[in-house]
């Protein structure tokens, strides 16, 4: 697929950053891993949590203005409505929320009030069984596509978990996968997969016919290191979380590189409120350069992002809302940067 720059490039505008880290229940993010937006403008944030605070795993609810609206999930565990290592979320046509869990090998379903509706999925390698389910996408017909990570395949289900089909196997040829992570569907029902360890995004028809592959391994424009997530807009532009390169790339429908984003986070409302009551940190921060020049031995994307606060660090999810906003969820920085498509 060509990586030639298009004549008319799509340029996104940074809007703002939302969220801030926390170590307790309530307002704030703990290793956010994915988000969805509902038709009424609410944002649902999946907090995967670290091992030290696993019990705080939950879905947080807020809005674009950063009003905290609540949270749900029944805590850490294998029971109904509980999570252990949740990965990704998707909404179906009735705005029911589907959440994958790579440790429990299942999908849990909630309504937007947080009521647990059901679950499906079992561990295994056979048809319909899951081994480390990661990304999830639901098309207009409510077909559910899941990146079956350690089975190196995509599986399709009905919304009640009835198995519909699968494609892919371990490998690097077209149509094969290496630990796939993110999944997306476009307006035509085609399926896009962040083929994580093959450093590419693959496009398929709804039945798994290979259509195209985007990207090769590397750090250049149009190249990827372990892409984690993909989103596609109604015009066919692709938004790809280039996880290993700590950036987001935007490709045109023909695969041409439109834009490479490294992140430009500013203080969220919650962050501003923190500094309002912590003047010692506010004042010493004001003296600081948060985009430093680093010594050579720390000159990798991961190290650079660990020391450069505005940059993406751990971009695990890219999602679009109906207003053309791009939400980049950063697991390591506990926030979401928002960009606007022109």
């Amino acid at each position: 697929m060509s990586t030639q720059t298009a004549v008319a490039r799509l340029a996104l505008t940074y809007v703002k950053t939302i969220g801030s880290v926390t170590v307790q229940p309530g307002r704030g993010f703990i290793n956010p891993y994915d988000m969805v937006s509902s038709k009424d403008g609410r944002l649902f944030i999946l907090n995967r949590c670290d091992s030290a605070r696993a019990a705080l795993v939950r879905v947080g609810v807020m809005n674009f203005a950063e009003d905290y609206l609540g949270e749900f999930g029944k805590g850490y565990g294998a029971g109904d409505g509980q999570f252990m290592l949740p990965v990704a979320m998707a909404l179906d046509s009735q705005e029911r929320l589907y959440i994958t869990d790579e440790h429990l090998h299942r999908v849990s379903i909630f309504d937007l009030d947080g009521n647990f509706l059901g679950k499906w999925g079992t561990f295994g390698r056979g048809e319909g069984a899951l081994h480390g389910p990661a990304g999830i996408a639901i098309d207009a017909e409510d077909r559910v596509y899941i990146a079956d990570q350690h089975n190196h395949r995509i599986q399709a289900f009905q919304s009640d978990g009835t198995y519909l089909g699968q494609w892919g196997e371990a490998g690097s040829a077209p149509g094969q996968f290496a630990m796939p992570w993110g999944v997306a569907v476009d307006a035509q029902g085609d399926v896009y997969v962040a083929d994580w360890r093959n450093d590419r995004v693959q496009k398929f028809t709804a039945t798994g016919q290979f259509v195209a592959s985007f990207g090769t391994s590397g750090t250049g424009d149009g190249q990827f290191q372990r892409p984690s997530s993909v989103a596609v807009d109604p015009e066919g532009y692709l938004y790809i979380a280039d996880w290993g390169n700590e950036r987001v790339q935007v490709l045109g429908p023909d695969g041409s590189v439109q834009e490479v984003l490294c992140g430009q986070a500013t203080l969220s409302r919650w962050a501003e409120e923190f500094f309002a009551v912590n003047p010692d940190e506010r004042e010493t921060r004001a003296m600081s350069n948060l985009v430093p020049t680093l010594p050579a031995h720390l000159n990798t994307p991961h190290h650079i992002s660990s020391q450069t606060e505005p940059y993406f660090w751990g971009p695990v999810s890219v999602k679009l809302d109906s207003a053309g906003r791009l939400y980049v969820t950063e697991a390591n920085r506990h926030r979401i940067q928002i960009y606007q498509k022109p």
Binding site: S20, V21, S51, T284, P295, S306, A331
Partner: protein, 471 residues
């Protein structure tokens, strides 16, 4: 391939690494002792568990904010590395240049210090001391960010001389002050903000910001200084250059390396080895690699006298058991517990009790830590589903038709776990345990069946012996 060769190679790999399986020992013996020493001393690109796979599964090991997450992350490297001396030496430097989380609240920068040890740990001691002086975690740990041109802080200068290079008694209080003056201006980027965050343990608003070195020329005292009898407008690197030329430094470093890699106690036979390491230190331009080569190739180190003369430190005990058991070779749920286990045994990574580091040797063992040590190792090596234990069982099943007398089974287990020997009364007790089951037949064994469990129990008991606690 003689049993003596196997025993010698096992000794080398226990000391220069974290032990080895029988298959690894056989491969190394085939290469030859000196070739293995050189391979250990020249780590290339280490093959180990891929970083991306760890970070995807362990969210906490992507962020590396939590103390035990960072400890476990390093332990994954120790468990799976193809260059074990690189990690063992990093562990040595971590003990010598002990830097702790409690004051820093900055786990990633501690791990960056370990990466610095990997880069410079086998090279020139002069370079290592300069890099240590520039290490942001060390700077905060010993307050060099508070060491200013107009108001010195002696903490780093004092420990550089006392604990990191020469040892007490070889310098004056005035030397400490002059040393501190030379290191004024050696600080970290955004020092004021980072110091406030460290002191408050603040992660807000967007989690930790890792640290990097920053030199502030305007805060450096460029005046004349007299240090250990030499006078000049010394900067920090000049001070290090004077330190590394001292015989006291050579003896300090040689002795510490000897005690970590050769024997807890320096006996009369060990003293000439230390002298030889000191000579190598000067001959090689202060190169650690050359000093270790002198040690590992010495007749003393290769002799039976040197074997089992060190108490395994908690980290080397745990890593050695896991490597032998073949567990934790993939990202494993709850891996951060590994770091907690060594903490319970008295050696939490990045949690040294003070800037002095850990007290080693017999001080590793008390009634509480011994229980932790035995329970952990026994659970790993008594678990017949662990891949390394399965290898031992399969190997036994292929020997002599898989039939063993109780005494033969005990001896084979001691051999494949080490080889090591146990006291006579211990041996009698182990044989007696097996004898209660009668002869052992491994033909047709099935995973987890009673015969396999019996072998697992022998391994479990063998690793619970006094002798297994020694390296």
């Amino acid at each position: 391939m003689s049993q003596q060769d196997i025993a010698l190679m096992a000794h080398l790999l226990r000391r220069a690494g974290f032990g080895a399986t029988r298959e690894e020992l056989e491969t190394c013996v085939a290469k030859g002792y000196d070739a293995v020493v050189e391979a250990l001393l020249h780590p290339t690109e280490a093959q180990c568990m891929p970083d991306d796979v760890i970070r995807r599964y362990h969210t906490d090991m992507a962020e590396l904010r939590e103390l035990n997450s960072v400890g476990a992350y390093w332990m994954y490297r120790m468990i799976t590395t193809s260059c074990p001396l690189e990690e063992k030496l990093a562990l040595f430097w971590h003990g010598l240049f002990a830097t702790g989380y409690s004051k820093l609240n900055q786990a990633r920068s501690l791990l960056n210090q370990i990466e610095m040890f990997r880069h410079h740990g086998l090279g020139s001691f002069a370079t290592l001391l300069v890099e240590l002086s520039k290490d942001p975690a060390m700077i905060i740990w010993l307050d060099n960010n508070d060491n200013h041109k107009e108001a010195i802080n002696e903490n780093y200068g004092r420990e550089l001389l006392e604990l990191f290079s020469m040892g007490i008694g070889h310098y004056s209080e005035q030397d400490i002050k002059e040393c501190a003056r030379a290191f004024t201006g050696w600080t970290l980027g955004n020092a004021e903000y980072m110091a406030v965050r460290a002191s408050k343990d603040s992660i807000w608003p967007y989690s930790r910001i890792a640290w990097h070195f920053d030199y502030r020329d305007h805060d450096h005292d460029d005046g004349e200084k007299t240090f250990l009898g030499q006078t000049g407008r010394f900067n920090g690197a000049d001070i290090v250059n004077i330190i590394v030329q001292r015989e006291e430094t050579a003896r300090f470093l040689s002795t510490r390396l000897f005690q970590f890699f050769a024997a807890d106690e320096v006996d009369d036979a060990g003293k000439p080895v230390i002298d030889a390491m000191m000579q190598t230190y000067f001959d090689s331009g202060y190169e650690i690699r050359a000093m270790l080569r002198t040690l590992f190739r010495s007749a003393y180190f290769r002799s039976e006298q040197a074997r089992f003369t060190r108490v395994k430190g908690p980290v080397e005990l745990v890593i050695g058991a896991v490597r032998l058991a073949g567990s934790y070779c993939q990202p494993t749920f709850g891996a951060d517990q590994l770091a907690r286990h060594t903490m319970y045994m008295g050696q939490g990574l990045f949690q040294p009790p003070s800037v002095e580091g850990w007290h080693e040797g017999l001080e590793w063992v008390d009634s509480g830590t011994l229980l932790e040590r035995v329970n952990f190792v026994a659970s790993e090596l008594g678990n017949v589903s662990n891949p390394g234990v399965r290898n031992i069982i399969n190997r036994l099943a292929a020997e002599d038709g898989g039939t063993f007398t109780p005494e033969a089974l005990v001896d084979r287990c001691l051999d494949l776990l080490g080889p090591f020997q146990v006291a006579e009364d211990t041996h009698t007790a182990l044989v007696g345990f097996v004898a209660r089951q009668g002869a052992v037949h491994l033909q047709g064994h099935q995973p987890g069946d009673a015969t396999e469990q019996l072998v697992g129990d022998v391994l479990r008991l063998a690793t619970a012996t006094r002798e297994f606690q020694l390296a």
